[in-house]
């Protein structure tokens, strides 16, 4: 059985201008110990998806339909209290590095120990501190910096501290939302390697959210490409990266320099993402799609199964 199975998940926000369809009809599954990456432009719904898995949407956000089976139980059926206990103990999060994710008035060690103490009432304060010390060793922060406050840390160290915090309760799943985006390239690479090795060490599943397809393809076993709230292509790394099918995936891949350094002409994707309030009929990508046909305007796309693992949401490719 998969660790996480998401079926037909639709999420939206109520706003003054109307209902925003942020995520629509998304399905995927994740095996224990595997990693899955979601890529897409900003506003495509990938962060909303991550927050929905933790049931941490803002007050105006609603999960309209779908199921989120975690270890066989639907997270949407859990009470708030049950959900609170699952957070961090089972599903933890690594936030964007640019975010002010650590509380400025508390010591780092206390913020990490707090996670341990909350979820394990048997754990004593000393024990928790001992574990925090071990975590610092894992993520490579000197022990004498444990008692520091967040503002005394560099960006990379803060991100390491957040990773240490995410690992604190040995969760089964970590959702990493743009964990390296605001860091400089060298630190980015170190942090990614670190997450990868810790994932293998602790056999944790990871959902990796990024706008950068090269990072995701480097890191993840499976890749889901999102566009305007919908999943448009899904498959294992090799399939999506080397033989992309959906025009949007192709465009994404050609708008980034490759990791291997081959010389490509970088192509910006023309046009902009559609308005998510008034959903256009037909395929949402058609305005920007180089291979859009007449039917794309009226008919909704269908899932095209290419291999048992690889599928694309497009009608213009036969």
């Amino acid at each position: 059985m998969a660790l996480l199975e998401v079926e037909n998940l639709s999420i939206g926000y109520h706003s003054q201008k109307g209902y925003i369809h942020a995520v629509e009809d998304v399905s995927f599954s994740l095996e224990a110990g595997k990693s899955l990456g979601f890529v897409g432009e900003s506003g495509c719904g990938k962060t909303t998806l991550g927050m929905a898995l933790m049931r941490l949407l803002p007050p105006n956000g609603v999960i309209r339909e779908g199921r989120m089976l975690f270890e066989g139980n639907d997270l949407l059926k859990k009470s708030d209290e049950e959900m609170r206990e699952i957070r961090w103990k089972k599903v933890a999060m690594i936030f964007q590095a640019a975010m002010n994710a650590l509380n400025p008035v508390h010591r780092i060690e206390d913020q990490i120990a707090e996670a341990l103490l909350t979820h394990d009432p048997m754990c004593s304060k000393e024990e928790a501190m001992k574990q925090v010390e071990d975590l610092f060793v894992f993520v490579g922060i000197p022990k004498d910096r444990m008692r520091d406050y967040p503002h005394q840390y560099s960006g990379g160290m803060k991100q390491r501290a957040i990773i240490a915090m995410a690992l604190a309760c040995r969760p089964a799943l970590i959702i990493a939302d743009e964990p390296t985006t605001a860091l400089d390239v060298i630190v980015q690479d170190q942090i990614l390697k670190e997450i990868k090795s810790l994932q293998e060490l602790f056999k944790i599943s990871i959902i990796f959210i990024s706008h950068d397809i090269s990072v995701v393809s480097d890191f993840c076993d499976d890749i889901g490409v999102m566009y305007a709230g919908q999943l448009v292509e899904y498959g294992d790394r090799q399939e999506v990266f080397t033989s992309p099918v959906h025009p949007y995936t192709k465009a994404l891949l050609s708008s980034y320099p490759t990791v291997t350094g081959e010389k490509y002409k970088l192509e910006p994707i023309p046009g902009e993402t559609p308005n998510l309030i008034n959903q256009p009929s037909g395929c949402r990508f058609r305005h920007r799609c180089p291979s859009a046909g007449v039917s794309c305007k009226t008919e909704s796309p269908v899932w095209l199964k290419l291999t048992p693992t690889h599928r694309a949401f497009c009608s213009s490719i036969r």
Partner: protein
């Protein structure tokens, strides 16, 4: 991201081009602001109360025309030589020497507006000018002006006026207004300075500099129009503090003896020992001072919501 930056640059270029700033967008902006303001209940209550007080101030000219005994300061009812309760002849009763309380109350509204608005106006003129100069010039000028502001900020204005009236004798109402203005600008200048610092980074200031505009011209033609809304917002808060200081001064017996203010009315009730026996005399002036302060304060808070885009966003989502 890129699009947004270009957009704001275009907007600032528009501001730079004086000719394009004709009246209609300003009116449109005012209408948009008014639409937000109208949704604010407190703002509406505040504005209504202020209109009532303004009517009171206007009506203050009427009673002395009817009969000289309704002169607020000098008119004495020939038949009454002590404080009496409300009657047909004196709707709110008379004070200890037979003067009409209603006439005094109406005249007090006029004095409150006069003191509040003129002191506030002067203090925002001083505060805005100093704030803009400190923020724009920076370095030594900034340090000097801000230290001066710190110094004045720790001075209790009421007690300063007290000391000055001890030294210079009875102070005229306009001198009192001037002193209040001279001691209440530092708060305004701090805010305007911060705003100027952020404006200084914007491209249209840079463009004006490149075009060879003088410092004075940049400050008064390019920065000032952008900080004025904020300055007017602070003016409403300064109006309240000026009214309170004048009223308190009059209450302690150091007001201008030739003007009837609400504070002075309270001083008469208190000093003549009528506070336990003449509620018809004790209540009206106190209620008026408190309500006019409250309504200017509510006006300010509602304007704050119109001006602060962050709060507006909060109102949209929440």
């Amino acid at each position: 991201m890129g699009r947004f930056e270009i957009g704001s640059y275009e907007m600032s270029m528009e501001k730079l081009n004086k000719k394009s700033l004709n009246r209609s967008p300003r009116i449109a902006r005012f209408r948009a602001g008014w639409a937000i303001y109208r949704q604010n209940l407190l703002g509406k209550i505040g504005l209504t109360l202020l209109v009532i007080f303004a009517l009171m101030a206007l009506c203050s000219f009427i009673p002395p025309l009817i009969d000289p005994m309704y002169q607020p300061m000098t008119g004495v009812d020939p038949d009454i030589a002590k404080s009496t309760g409300p009657s047909l002849r004196h709707w709110l009763g008379t004070d200890f020497m037979g003067r009409d309380i209603l006439s005094q109350l109406l005249a007090g509204a006029r004095v409150a507006f006069m003191v509040g608005v003129s002191a506030a106006f002067m203090s925002i003129v001083i505060g805005t000018t100093i704030g803009m100069i400190a923020g724009y010039m920076g370095k030594f000028v900034d340090t000097l002006l801000m230290r001066l502001a710190d110094m004045i900020m720790v001075m209790p204005t009421l007690l300063v006026v007290l000391i000055l009236s001890a030294l210079f004798g009875q102070l005229n109402i306009w001198i009192i207004v001037l002193i209040i203005a001279l001691f209440r600008w530092p708060g305004v200048s701090r805010v305007i300075r911060a705003q100027t610092l952020s404006l200084k980074q914007r491209p249209f200031i840079e463009a004006a500099k490149v075009a060879g505009a003088s410092h004075m011209r940049i400050i008064f033609r390019h920065i000032m129009p952008n900080v004025l809304p904020l300055a007017f917002l602070y003016m409403t808060f300064r109006v309240t503090s000026a009214i309170i200081i004048e009223a308190a001064l009059a209450f302690l017996g150091f007001g201008d003896p030739s003007t009837v203010s609400w504070g002075m009315m309270l001083q008469w009730v208190w000093k003549t020992g009528h506070m336990f026996k003449a509620p018809y005399w004790l209540l009206p002036p106190g209620i008026c001072i408190s309500l006019i302060t409250l309504s200017f304060y509510m006006l300010g808070r509602a304007m704050d919501e119109v001006l602060d885009p962050r709060l507006r966003k909060e109102a949209e989502t929440g």
